[in-house]
Symmetry: C2
């Protein structure tokens, strides 16, 4: 059998194959739809931000040099030339020994290069100001292009658009933004014992969980899931479903085939696809050893375990980085939480083990304790109880109580 | 002035007021819309899961006792009674010294309480099986109600529905689920210098960033933002907008009023609302000192700084827990990343400082380094560069290079 010759690969070697798959195209979305999308191009600021010299304090716009040497005992005496209404362009400029009342957000007059805080000055009359503390040039103000400069790259391609990037886009007046489109990920669940969620499972059957679990994971990684339904354990039907899916989707996930026999025909169907190349057949990880990855034209096809918990781990560790990659994500590692493991966890040398843990906060503010979740690995309740996964490296025979671990959060 | 008598409160004292606001009602959503929603009731499993005694390995269903004492040198000899097709109800039961071929996912016959892995057995003929290793009762199988039990609480009220909870709901056949509805959060931006994002700002004006930034943050905390527009610095207009917003929304955010004068009339408008009670006027934090919280009937009204970066920090630290609370969230702390601070950061005693940091991964797998982001605090580029916030406690005068810090991730 061919699989005898196929070498089980390390997770890292599989992840390195990401680059074989190219990114999806881009599309324009409105600003209110852009949250959590990935910038599809370098976004150049069309304007300076804030666009004018802007006060960040209530006080007096001055030429900073007018205040040098000022102190409580020896204040600087300035002439108040006027007051600047919010949103108005000052109708005068400021020279040495002159000041203008200004509120936070106001526009500095020409000639002013700093703002004296109200608390450090006293208007002894309508026109006379005493300043008790010097202010440096640029103090308590923001220069016209100090936040962003017109023509500069404000947001790099591949950046995740968080709330601050959304605000920045608004500030630049960009009501439409180029993002990568969401990769379409087809999901096929196989197994003669699987019924759809709407059906009442006869004895010996279970409802399809993988379609929903994987769809949720696809959404969380920026993709758009496409439910291709439940397929019985028959080669022809699976092949047809796969061939249909690779026509329309950027990636296809086939979960199931938990028995050796079913796995064999899943492999057969995947490798029979047009222009197919089997890239991965077996990964040195647990759970997830029987994971397969193939290419059909430029689309990726994954064979992942049918057991819902194994399918989740394989998705999170192996598939997610690929979906994020074709979706334009420029980052690399998933963010992890640094913790200490609460007890010894043995592991087998030569295989990366993924252990489910729940996190207990450290009341003294240190790293949380990561407790391994007990229970048979196939039970979904172990995932419901867990907050994340800890990887135990292949070159280790386990981790010891108190060891530092990086928790991949769910 | 009244505010002279109003004591600046600690962030913890403000957060403790959450309980004054009640949770929103619940609604039913379909399973495919349930991701990232909060369970609106304890969800009781209507069924046992998996619902039958299920094999998790390819092998032979047996009565475990038949294998006790088996070894390579002295195998147990069993009679193969048949084979169990996937998804089928076995037509026979298993007695002592009997076995039935079974695949992963198959239903165990009555009388069988374990599965011998294929690798630990050898079928020497169609009916004769040698077993080389004992299996414990329950081994390589999952009991009918071992994952979840009918009538038990599968998902507690207030639980965030992640991919695994979605899968579990599917497994239980629940195509509709009760969740808290999304709290409606009205957002009002004030300031004579603010124009909408579609407008071209005249000199001295800037585009409204807060509406978009806060809307994104509201979405991320499970709420539904309601854009109430930009309001000029006029008491009557602000009051009208506020009165309109508290009629329709569960919470209202007014950002702006960065100058002392504007803040005063914001307070005046908030406290003039029907049945209004000012709960907070000033928080011992930086940024965010001028934060206000009031109640109008049972709705909450927040006055937050106009500076976009300050508004973000106030939302994330103060407002978010309230929005999550009324939205049904049962958790407490935001998840943090444990890191070491990369340099000394001074701070003022008596005030909690929130410092923007970017994270540098530790190549050796330890805690990341948290680098304070340089730049004037009002610049949105400091938020774009940052990965999160570090709180420096009020009873501290700063943190030292290498100190452990908890980073609140953006």
């Amino acid at each position: 059998m061919m699989e005898e010759f196929f070498k089980v690969m390390t997770p890292a070697a599989v992840l390195a194959m990401k680059e074989r798959f190219s990114r999806v195209e881009t599309e324009a979305v409105s600003l209110s739809e852009a949250l959590d999308r990935l910038a599809g191009a370098d976004i150049v600021s069309p304007v300076d931000l804030p666009g004018f010299n802007r006060s960040v304090m209530d006080g007096y716009a001055v030429a900073a040099a007018s205040t040098f040497g000022a102190s409580d005992g020896s204040p600087a005496f300035l002439t108040i030339k006027g007051s600047i209404p919010m949103g108005a362009v000052p109708e005068f400029d400021i020279r040495r020994s002159e000041a203008a009342a200004i509120a936070t957000g106001g526009m500095l007059p020409a000639g002013a290069d700093a703002v004296v805080m109200k608390e450090h000055a006293n208007a002894v009359s309508e026109t006379e100001l005493e300043v008790y503390k010097p202010v440096a040039p640029g103090g308590n103000m923001v220069g016209a292009n100090e936040d962003f400069e017109a023509g500069g790259i404000a947001i790099a391609r591949g950046t995740l658009l968080r709330s601050q990037e959304i605000g920045l886009l608004a500030g630049m007046g960009l009501t439409s933004v180029t993002v990568y489109r969401k990769p379409l990920v087809g999901i096929i669940s196989t197994g003669d014992e699987i019924v759809t969620v709407e059906e009442s499972p006869p004895p010996g059957h279970i409802r399809d969980m993988n379609t929903y679990t994987l769809a949720a994971l696809v959404r969380e990684s920026g993709g758009a899931p496409v439910n291709m339904g439940v397929v019985p354990d028959r080669y022809e039907v699976l092949y047809e479903a796969l061939a249909e899916a690779v026509k329309d989707c950027d990636a296809v996930l086939v979960s199931g085939g938990s028995s050796v026999g079913a796995r064999d025909y899943t492999k057969k169907a995947i490798t029979a696809l047009p222009d197919a190349e089997l890239l991965v057949h077996g990964v040195a990880m647990r759970p997830g050893k029987p994971t397969m990855l193939a290419r059909s034209w430029h689309r990726m096809v994954w064979g992942i375990p049918g057991q819902v918990t194994s399918a989740m781990v394989v998705y999170m560790i192996m598939v997610r980085p690929f979906v994020q990659h074709i979706g334009g994500y420029a980052g690399t590692e998933p963010p992890t939480v640094s913790a200490r493991i609460a007890r010894n966890v043995p592991s087998v040398y030569g295989r990366t083990d993924f252990v489910r843990v729940w996190l207990e906060a450290d009341p003294s503010g240190g790293r949380p304790l990561a407790h391994p979740v007990f229970g048979k690995s196939g039970l979904i309740n172990t995932m419901v109880k867990a907050d994340g996964l800890v990887a135990i490296d292949a070159d280790s025979e386990g981790i010891n109580k108190g060891d530092a671990v990086a928790v991949i959060r769910f």
